[in-house]
């Protein structure tokens, strides 16, 4: 062990390539590991969970891999947008990966997630594949919404991922409706409704929170506070930027959204709370490196120093990399190899997506209505035979 540690202090360029202290691959151990979160949780009307998070080396490696994949996908999307293969609006999630990955680690696929338009990485976290994602971004038939939704409309019904919404704040009442259906069907699962600091000022959010609290719905409202609503900083948009407290009578928790373990702990806590007691608000203190969308340079309302400062000090992937390295769960070379492999994975997916065809013109009219609803009647275009009761 000591020899290995010694070796690692030698800069890679000078390390003799044929010397192996121990033939050890990247850790896949499932032995429990307890790690402290970066900062303690701040809470409102509820006792916060512990700062000590239980995880395993294998899970940390998965975190690293998943977040790196997301990061790589978003950067690739940036290039594709500049190459005019992705058009319209493209909102990138890089910097916020810890929220998607940490949340997924705390819940099951039976729980529901709904978010706004910054949805590419949540789609991946819910089991979406790269080819479908890139195809949808490029408007191809193989896309997850058949090319008809675009960047802001990714959905995955079988993984209980409900999208993918363009209108700010409108997804929160939908999310409370999902929670209502979960309670109605007695499912013992919860819904995570994600929104941003900009959307936190929407009235419909408070309406939905009121109803959820009244009816004790298992709804978790997650504010991904990246501190900017497009170009407006949070202190200019909200009289009270303590978003976790704005549920008023609803308990809240403030979480370091750049620390994947803190996110995991908070989401687990929130799910247990919501299923038992009703709604809870989570505020994820996070940051986006890109501008609001590809049309926004992201530097007119904040300084480049701020962006690079956050990248240096709080980057979620670097945090996990440090954890893996200092605890000797992987070597720097292994992690670099993993990143190279991920890069190749993404490039291959893009190549495959580029080959996919554009949707056929007839697809313009499909999925406007659902046909064949099982009663004796005509379809909306009156050209269809009468469907009859089963």
């Amino acid at each position: 062990m000591a020899a290995a540690a010694l070796l690692r202090r030698i800069p890679a360029a000078r390390a003799p390539p044929t010397v192996f202290v121990a033939a050890r691959s990247i850790s896949d151990s499932t032995a429990a590991l307890t790690i402290e979160t970066s900062v303690p949780f701040t809470s409102h009307l509820v006792d916060p969970p512990s700062r000590d998070v239980t995880t395993t080396p294998a899970e940390l490696v998965t975190f690293f891999r998943d977040m790196s994949l997301m990061r790589r996908m978003e950067i690739a999307a940036d290039s594709l947008y500049k190459a005019k293969l992705i058009r319209g609006f493209c909102h990138l999630y890089d910097g916020q990966e810890a929220v998607a990955v940490g949340m997924e680690a705390a819940i099951t696929r039976s729980d529901s997630i709904i978010t706004a338009y910054r949805d590419h990485c949540i789609y991946l976290a819910r089991g979406g594949d790269l080819v479908s994602a890139f195809s949808e971004l490029m408007g191809r038939e193989a896309g997850c919404s058949r090319g008809k939704g675009g960047s802001m409309h990714f959905y995955k019904k079988d993984a209980n991922f409900y999208g993918g919404h363009g209108i700010v704040g409108a997804q929160v009442p939908l999310g409370c409706g999902l929670a209502f259906a979960q309670k109605y069907k007695k499912e013992d699962t919860a819904t995570f409704a994600l929104y941003g600091d900009g959307a936190a000022n929407q009235g419909q959010l408070f309406e939905a929170l009121n109803i959820s609290a009244l009816w004790k719905l298992p709804a978790i409202l997650v504010c991904e506070n990246n501190h900017y609503g497009m170009g407006t900083a949070e202190w200019r948009a909200a009289k009270s930027p303590a978003y976790y407290k704005r549920g008023d009578y609803v308990p809240g928790l403030k979480v370091d959204g750049m620390d994947v373990l803190a996110v995991k702990q908070a989401c687990k806590f929130a799910k247990d709370h919501a299923v038992a007691n009703g709604p809870i608000v989570l505020e994820m203190d996070t940051y986006r490196y890109h501008g609001h969308s590809m049309s926004d340079p992201g530097s007119t309302y904040r300084t480049r120093d701020e962006i690079s400062g956050v990248r240096q000090e709080r980057d979620p992937i670097e945090r996990v990399r440090k954890l893996l390295l200092t605890r000797d769960l992987a070597t720097a070379a292994e992690l670099k190899d993993m990143e190279k492999e991920i890069r190749k994975q993404v490039d291959d997916a893009i190549a495959k997506a580029k080959e996919s065809s554009m949707p056929d013109t007839s697809e313009l009219f499909t999925n406007v209505y659902k046909k064949g609803f099982g009663v004796e009647s005509f379809g909306p275009d009156r050209k269809e035979l009468r469907a009859s009761l089963p």
């Binding site: 090319g147 999902l178 009663v375």
Partner: protein
């Protein structure tokens, strides 16, 4: 459950036959259902095709006529009771059907459409919402995405303007933007239209506002018979359906069949077959048209009156067959002139049936004004029978 349903209705005063409702078993979905078919040929071929003339509002239907198609004599009830019957039947058949709206539960509904339902089905299925149309409509859409079949009530259709974003962007579009993954089998219903001096904000006609939303279906009921049938079909439909009721029609009395039936959502209803002119109308204006029809018949005209019922999409099949016969069209609606249902219908008829027309299509609509409070002004806002008579005379010159 069916027996409890009928006894609850008895308690509320509906005149019902002693025979238990819905002879078919609730569990199996295989059951014989009579569909009200629109007339495909001449008069009399539909289950309801006969001369039914009515005076303005709250009139008694021709009892023999209404029960003509019914095997067991039928039962008489008011329109709001017919809507309630439909809700009760569907909620008994399908446990995923739930109702949400303001004061629909314990209060019984501001127009009594949901009276008694909360006691029958409980607070989780008949939900009193706070006054938050935007969010509870959104919650209805979210619940529909996850497999429930909510019936969302706007206490007055006009209030649903607050939920316009949810109805347009989420309700109408999600099936499309998700590439077919999610269906939204929601029913959005409520009373609209010009009432008795309710004031401008409570006299709105939202048919014209919603008609361009892709993915929505819109129907307007006008009799207890079609109200029950359309409500049932709307609940069963996998598409989002907006059901327009009218404030002044809730107390219409009619005899409806005892057996279960549904009305086709996309079909128009032949009210009165005729030869000289096709009058297309819906909702409350149907009654003004029928009142005008009495005068017209006395003057020697033979108008064909069609209640279009389906506002989106239009039943161009029935309408077209009628135009091919009469060659003259008059549209009578309660929407505003600008951008109303009549405007779209006129355009659709011109596109499809131009060669069959012998005269320009006339469209009588409400004036483009906020509905005034004063009684005389309010009457002048909507189309009155005298104007309909004058229009027919003009068309048939």
């Amino acid at each position: 459950m069916a027996a409890a349903a009928s006894s609850a209705l008895h308690a509320v005063g509906a005149v019902a036959s002693a025979k238990p409702r819905s002879a078919a078993p609730a569990v199996a979905r295989r059951r014989s259902v009579r569909v009200a078919a629109a007339a495909k040929g001449g008069p009399g071929s539909s289950g309801r095709g006969r001369l039914v003339t009515r005076s303005a509002v709250a009139a008694k239907a021709d009892e023999a006529a209404a029960a003509a198609g019914s095997k067991s004599g039928g039962h008489e009830l008011l329109m709001f009771e017919a809507l309630r019957e439909a809700l009760i039947e569907e909620m008994n058949l399908d446990p995923t059907v739930c109702v949400m709206g303001e004061d629909v539960g314990h209060y019984g509904g501001s127009y009594k459409v949901t009276k008694g339902l909360a006691e029958m089905f409980g607070d989780l299925r008949v939900l009193d919402t706070p006054i938050a149309e935007n969010s509870f409509t959104g919650m209805g859409v979210g619940a529909a995405m996850k497999g429930l079949r909510p019936v969302v009530e706007g206490m007055n259709m006009g209030f649903l303007l607050l939920a316009y974003n949810q109805i347009s962007n989420n309700c109408g579009m999600l099936h499309y933007t998700s590439g077919g993954q999610f269906k939204i089998p929601i029913v959005i219903r409520g009373p609209g239209g010009v009432g008795r001096q309710l004031g401008a904000e409570h006299s709105q006609r939202l048919e014209s506002y919603f008609q361009s939303i892709p993915g929505l279906q819109m129907v307007a009921c006008s009799t207890p018979y079609n109200a029950k049938g359309l409500m049932k079909a709307a609940i069963r439909s996998e598409n989002p359906v907006v059901l327009f009721e009218h404030v002044l029609l809730y107390n219409l009395k009619e005899k409806i069949p005892d057996e279960e039936y549904i009305c086709c959502l996309e079909e128009a209803e032949m009210v009165r077959p005729g030869e000289h002119v096709t009058i297309l109308t819906y909702s409350r204006m149907r009654y003004h048209v029928m009142q005008a029809a009495k005068t017209l018949v006395n003057k020697g005209y033979d108008p064909e009156v069609i209640d279009i019922r389906s506002l989106k999409p239009f039943d161009l099949h029935t309408i077209g067959n009628s135009i091919k016969k009469t060659h003259r069209v008059l549209i009578v609606e309660e929407c505003m002139r600008t951008g109303g249902i009549g405007a779209s219908l006129r355009s659709a008829i011109i596109d499809n049936f131009w060669d069959y027309l012998d005269a320009p299509i006339m469209c009588l609509s409400s004036q483009d004004v906020p509905t005034p409070y004063a009684a005389t002004l309010e009457d002048a806002t909507v189309v009155q029978p005298a104007q309909i008579v004058a229009a027919v005379e003009q068309i048939c010159q």
